[in-house]
């Protein structure tokens, strides 16, 4: 579903990604881990077509970047630590806007479905600026799935969430993954990543330095695997 070969990304003289290779099969849930400044967000932004690769090959759902970027975007749902919502619009108006931008037919029904999925159906007529951080993040997920994407990208989705909101987000993420979508998530929360993902890749200094499945780390734990990967 996602295939990345020898990806390089430079900003001026600074090289962020240095020949990164990465692949995700359909239906996999990959947690992309790494220290601050490793290049996780830059990498996710390239896959999300928000940034252009300097070198390398990126293919998503059979479409090559950057030439087929619009086709890729139609199959992607992205949730970052910013909700990408308009505070002066209601939840319903925000979703209606994005539904129209994605060409969703019969979007009224779809809006109700996604709001029910994240437990915000009763707040559909409320302005987004009245929502808590956790509610905004849940609404952001409903925004990201409104067009039924095959691939979901989550960039630090738990940022700024309290315990209750984080647990609600866990449930939503599990249901998103259970629908068979391919998921790539970056997170500093190793415990949550270990609970949700089926595979763990460690990104450090612009390359993937280690990769393991859930079965591979059964003997130890994710923290030990992560520390070992960074030491190597």
């Amino acid at each position: 579903m996602i295939s990345v070969k020898k990806l390089v990304k430079r900003f001026g003289l600074k090289t962020i990604l240095r020949g990164l290779d990465f692949s995700v099969a359909a239906g996999e849930f990959v947690a992309l881990l790494g220290p601050n400044g490793a290049g996780k967000t830059t990498f996710l932004r390239i896959i999300a077509t928000l940034a252009r690769p300097s070198l390398g090959l990126v293919k998503i759902a059979g479409h090559r970047l950057p030439d087929e970027a619009a086709q890729v975007r139609a199959k992607l749902g992205v949730v970052s630590h910013l909700p990408l919502l308009y505070p002066d619009l209601t939840a319903e108006e925000n979703l209606k806007f994005y539904a129209r931008m994605y060409g969703v037919a019969n979007y009224e029904l779809r809006i109700t479905e996604v709001l029910e999925m994240v437990g915000l159906e009763k707040r559909r007529k409320d302005l987004v600026r009245t929502f808590s951080r956790g509610m905004q993040q849940r609404l952001a997920i409903s925004r990201a799935v409104i067009h039924d994407p095959e691939v979901m990208l989550f960039d630090e989705p738990y940022t700024g969430l309290d315990q209750d909101a984080s647990e609600m987000l866990d449930d939503v993420l599990r249901s998103v993954a259970a629908e068979g979508r391919t998921v790539v998530m970056t997170s500093h929360d190793l415990a949550r990543a270990e609970d949700l993902a089926t595979r763990f890749d460690v990104l450090s200094r612009g390359v993937i330095v280690a990769s393991a499945t859930r079965d591979d780390i059964k003997q130890t734990n994710l923290l030990a695997f992560y520390k070992q990967a960074l030491e190597n």
């Binding site: 932004r45 077509t49 975007r73």
Partner: protein, 226 residues
Amino acid sequence: MSKPSPFSAVAAIVQKDLSAEFRSFELISAMLVFSLLVIIIFNFALELDVVVRQSVTAGVLWTTFAFAGTLGLNRSMSVEKDRGCMDGLLLAPVDRSVIYFGKAVSNLVFMLVVEAIVLPVYSMLYNVNLFRLDLLGVLVLGSVGYIAVGTLLSTMSAQTRTREILLPILLFPVAIPVLLASVKASGGLLAGAEFSEILTPLNILIVYDVVFIAIAFMVFDFVVEE
């Protein structure tokens, strides 16, 4: 899911901007207060007779609209950038130029709303009749050109920390042709000049509008992508 038509996507962006703005009035109120303040100050500063007042009308109006327009352009793009909503727009499976046209139409609507309120106030204060179809046509042409180039440059400047300073520095030199042509054409109409005398500035306005809309269409993709 069907691919959204460009017109439908542009309409969605315009509706979104208008809905948000008519709920908060953040942008229009800032532009309007600034515009009214400027024409009132000019009213007191230029204590002139009727004939002279008419001759400075075009300059006063376009100075007002240029600065108010810049305020609105900065604010319009800041709203998208500050909450990450520009990424939301860029993630849509549409050609990036659709985003440009949607934002440009929204910005144009806001500028025309402000002009529609300022014109009667100006007419009353300066005792100059501004309600003529030909003059309104020049107003629209000039506003289209200013907003066309302003939307492109405000998208560029919104990505920097010094956006409030950078936009005027970028915009005013590039907008000189459209501003001068608008002033010349408006001033000529108010002074009762022959059509042949205002044909040149009118042509400049039309060419400027077409050229800069075409340029924005071609380069907007590169402006917004990292």
